[in-house]
Amino acid sequence: MSEAPHRDDAGAKLGMWLFLFTELLLFGGLFVLYAVYVTRHPESFASASNELDLVFGTINTLILITSSLAVAASVTALRKGSPGTAQVLLGAAIAAAMVFMINKYFEWSEKIEHGLYAGSSLLKDRADGWGVYFGLYYFTTGLHGLHVIIGAAILAWVFIQVRSGRINREHYISLENAGLYWHLVDLIWIFVFPLYYLIL
């Protein structure tokens, strides 16, 4: 080989983290909006949040925590020299992402059937805080859901590369960075779950 291909794992990881910081600030902005409006409409937020189904929220929390475990363990599997196990774990995480989105579909459909969507006649009759609560609910969980879809696509991409051997015991930074993205999705949900489903 005439020239070794450029490689900078530390730089790649730093770049990924810099991107994740912008993601934290993006979702941080949505949490600030939630905090501001909950102090302005405490009663509406309390009654509107009772419309959410704790069962969906809890199942999706368990799905994300477990899929994060699978992705984290896939890095360990690869580095211990068992790419087959790493592929199984990544496949499980991708399947978990799909189940998460299917749950989200049923959850949103149920809300929309009950007339709980932006600009619905039901919300127009309720206090102002209801519209704000459901606006924020759809925007935050929608943006998070988009991240779940993108995360699943990235996991599928690294899955293919582990399969082909491009990602291997020595070259695993793409798998680690894909994992970081997936853990961020889990991290955001850790705050979405109590704020929207649990308190009040």
């Binding site: 302005r40 368990l62 925590i65």
Partner: protein, 96 residues
């Protein structure tokens, strides 16, 4: 930063963290069923913070990273805290 051989986290550590996350999820759901007034919010946020610390330190490997990356992470958290904190200085006192 040198390209030294990075730490491989054991399956055992990951499974213990996962069990910890499951326990904390159960605790936060149970705590929400009891009416503690404003403490419900602080308890839920406190548990969420502990859960996110577990995810960042172990799943996201931050515990084993170079000090410079850890410093960057703290910088991002500080930025977020300033952002949230200054917003509250505004909204809590604007209408007085």
């Amino acid at each position: 930063m040198s390209e030294e051989e990075a730490h491989v986290v054991s399956y055992r550590t990951y499974i213990l963290v996962w069990i910890g996350l499951l326990i904390l999820t159960t605790v936060t759901i149970l705590a929400a069923q009891v009416d503690l007034g404003a403490w419900n919010i602080w308890l839920a946020l406190g548990i969420a913070t502990v859960k996110s610390a577990l995810v960042v330190l172990f799943f996201m490997h931050m515990k084993y990273e170079h000090w410079l990356l850890r410093l960057f992470f703290l910088g991002a958290l500080a930025t977020l805290a300033i952002f949230i904190g200054l917003n509250f200085f505004d909204i809590l006192y604007r209408y007085e």
